[in-house]
Symmetry: C2
Subunit: 228 residues, 2 copies
């Protein structure tokens, strides 16, 4: 489903070019549950943004479901994203003027779902992350961990084919983290949704069946693991 070859990403800086990704090659099959770990600044979010079609590589290729993503126009890329991908951002990226419900309903609207149905589906997803009673709060009226859970619910709402989650439990206590990870595991197991999850916590990575480790823009380890 996902195939990258010699993927590179450069950022121009005042001091010259910084190579955030220095040649990553790997494959992820449909239905896999993959964890990504590595030091702060090692290139994990940069990699996730490329896989999530939010950015383009400087060099190398990315094939998603057989399509060469580098050859698509911005419009085609946006359509692909809306149809196939759910993304939980490290910084949440919620719309501050919308309620939790409307934030979660937004991708459903882009998918052409009618008003009544998307409100029902958004409310149901908020309940699954424990925020059923907060659906009318805006982001500023929510705690950090509640905002993170709204971002998670929004990514899951359309039941996309692939979910990219960038440190989705960083602001959650252990009980709430477990609730979220059980939800991810269930979607992967029951609906075959492919999951790629960045985390720096080993007990969160343990939910996955494969762990990829980044260091200085490269993959230094890629191991199968028994899910705990």
């Amino acid at each position: 489903l996902i195939e990258v070859e010699n993927l590179e990403k450069d950022y121009p800086t005042g001091a010259g070019v910084f190579q955030a990704l220095r040649g990553v090659s790997l494959r992820i099959a449909e239905g896999e549950f993959v964890a990504i770990m590595g030091a702060s600044g090692s290139g994990k979010s940069t990699f996730m943004n490329l896989l999530g079609c939010l950015d383009r590589p400087t060099r190398g290729s990315y094939h998603l479901d057989g399509q060469d993503v580098g050859r698509l126009s911005s419009d085609q890329l946006a359509a692909l994203r809306n149809r196939e991908i759910g993304f939980v951002f490290q910084g949440f990226n919620l719309l501050p003027k919308l309620t939790a419900l409307d934030n979660v309903a937004l991708p459903l609207m882009y998918a052409g779902i009618g008003r009544e149905a998307r409100r029902r589906q958004a409310q149901a997803m908020l309940e699954r992350v424990g925020l059923g009673e907060r659906s009318h709060h805006t982001p500023l009226q929510l705690s950090g961990g509640q905002q993170q859970r709204v971002a998670i619910a929004r990514a899951l709402a359309t039941r996309p084919r692939i979910i990219f989650a960038d440190e989705p439990t960083g602001n959650l206590d252990s009980e709430t983290s477990r609730q979220v990870m059980d939800l991810f595991s269930q979607l992967n197991r029951e609906e075959g949704i492919t999951l790629v999850l960045v985390t720096h916590e080993a007990d969160i990575a343990a939910y996955a069946r494969r762990c990829i480790r980044f260091q200085d823009g490269r993959v230094i380890e890629d191991v199968a693991q028994a899910e705990v």
Copy 2:
């Protein structure tokens, strides 16, 4: 140093009043190193914002170094904050148009420190959190964990009397977390800086000598612990 009595905080919502804090009474002595834990939404950040003089309680009293904080004007509160308090926000709150260096130097400027000296001190603090080579990057040119470390460096730069850190390692891998926690421990041990730190990770809380647990806007546990 810190004395709160029957502290309450209400938030008006469409559905009525939500009580985020429901009567918290406790004391923190100068030089203590305290961890705060509790479920997402239990009131930790609300409590920290009151202690950090960023917000006022709805009911109850807060004495900081003997002064009744509730009786101070906004200007007096701002002056007290700048002089005595460093705050690491759960959402970082960096200024997007300033470099890491200028973000960290900002409180030094408010403290009246001259341009050359504050650039040197800001650079030194960035080096202590491992970002010496990133000082000219703006927040958008930094990873999530790097932004978090800039927020930490900024709170520490003026060597304030008290540091409130709201989930400071949420985006950091274990090695970088250890670096940050060693820095906090050192400042507490060698300079007597009072530390109040919210975390949801037990091995981060283990660096502290006391652990306070919140649930539904109340303190349900307050225990001394041997630092690990």
